[in-house]
């Protein structure tokens, strides 16, 4: 092997990488917060909501979970303008991620809701709480606690999946890596660095979500 490694380009291109990281983080933050919110709302609708709403949400969930993320993204960015719905690449990327995480999050959160003992609903009702109040104050937090590890994994998957948005020229980390590679022809070094950054981001995100879990769900016992 007589390939000479050269990471000298990092000196010139680090601002591009930093901007890419910032975009990836922004997409993950918006996608994570809004996506989980949408997932919770859909989980409520599918598990406890009015009868007419359940098939609507089920159709959305199945549509998203059975099609590729890239196609969803292309449909939003390239397809919707035909109907007069135009948006920039970042908005399209954000929207696609929210819709995608919303569907997967829905199924995960729903599992948590359905594992709630019947007595919790009855206790809420017997104290005069409405069904919505019981869901919000009694059922939701323990349900999220039950599925938090699974939900965290899904958020990390969505963060990594955001690499696809480079295909609509949203300037995320993958876009930055492609850009640098096309200028320097240092494919190995560029994607090696991108890999390390994604790895670090994913580990940091996992730790962050674990920490968030500790604050959201104060530990109950020293078991």
């Amino acid at each position: 092997m007589n390939y000479a490694f050269d990471f000298g380009w990092l000196l010139d291109y680090w601002p591009v990488l930093v901007k890419g990281i910032a975009v990836t983080l922004e997409l993950t933050l918006v996608g994570g917060v809004l996506g989980v919110s949408l997932g919770v709302a859909c989980a409520w609708a599918r598990a406890l909501g009015p009868g007419w709403l359940r098939p609507v949400v089920a159709a959305y969930v199945e549509l998203i979970r059975n099609t590729p993320f890239l196609i969803q993204l292309f449909f939003i960015f390239f397809g919707l303008p035909a109907l007069g719905v135009r948006m920039g690449e970042l908005e399209a990327a954000n929207l696609a991620m929210v819709i995608n995480l919303g569907a997967y999050g829905c199924e995960i959160v729903r599992a948590g809701i359905q594992a709630t003992p019947k007595g919790q609903f009855e206790a809420g009702a017997s104290l005069g709480m409405s069904r919505i109040q019981t869901f919000w104050y009694v059922v939701l937090i323990p349900a999220l606690q039950r599925i938090w590890p699974a939900l965290s994994s899904q958020i990390v998957i969505v963060m990594l999946g955001s690499a696809a948005v480079s295909q609509i020229a949203a300037e995320d980390l993958t876009f930055a890596a492609n850009f640098i590679q096309s200028r320097t022809f240092r494919a190995f070094e560029t994607y090696f660095v991108a890999t390390l950054i994604y790895l670090a981001l994913a580990i940091a995100l996992r730790q962050g979500l674990r920490g968030l879990g500790w604050t959201l769900f104060p530990k109950r016992t020293a078991r």
């Binding site: 003992p117 007595g119 919790q120 009855e122 206790a123 809420g124 009702a125 017997s126 104290l127 005069g128 709480m129 409405s130 069904r131 109040q133 104050y137 009694v138 937090i141 323990p142 606690q145 769900f217 104060p218 109950r220 016992t221």
Partner: protein
Amino acid sequence: MSLIEITEVKKRFGNNEVLKGINIDVAPGEVIAVIGKSGSGKSTLLRCINGLETIDEGSISVAGAQLLPDELHLKALRLKVGMIFQGFNLFPHLTAGRNVMLSQMVVKKTPKAEAEAMARRQLERVGLAHKFDAYPDQLSGGQQQRVAIARALAMQPIALLCDEITSALDPELVSEVLAVVKELAGEGMTLMMVTHEMRFARDVCSRVVFMHQGRVHEIGPPEEVFASPKTPELQQFLGVTH
């Protein structure tokens, strides 16, 4: 005037009629024990009274609040009658104090400070003032059930329904819960309890309802019901449990 009026109540689960025309009137301050074999409909009756089950025929009202299936009427009814369950059903993510505060704040919109003061009073009443900040799974079964009683009391109901509230407890914990109930009875709270604690029913209750196959089979003051049961079913039931 009766506080709880149960009139010709019928309830079916599919083809299985579990309540076949129940009539019971409960006066204010009365303590009613509902006894009977499992499957006799006693728990279902209790659950109907605060609308956890719908009824197919007849009517139920508590202090003028009618049992009707819409959320507004159910809420009005449930504000008058609290319920305590066999399995405690405390909210696991909230401390004992928060368990008692939650419904006051959410349902009655009581300000937090007031709800907290009420929670402390009610926990004190059941002997658990020192457990305000403990989570349910740090409490024994008996303590959890007493928190559940405090939680129901904090809503200031006119009557309390107790559905086999000591059945899930270890024998040595039963008495601490019954002591609380006995105190409530002494203070004039209207109570209707499904129970297997015959001695407690005999000592504390003003009337005993014996249910059999979805009907009120015998009803009367405990000294009559326990000392001279009229029907062979009750004689057999008491023979089995004594």
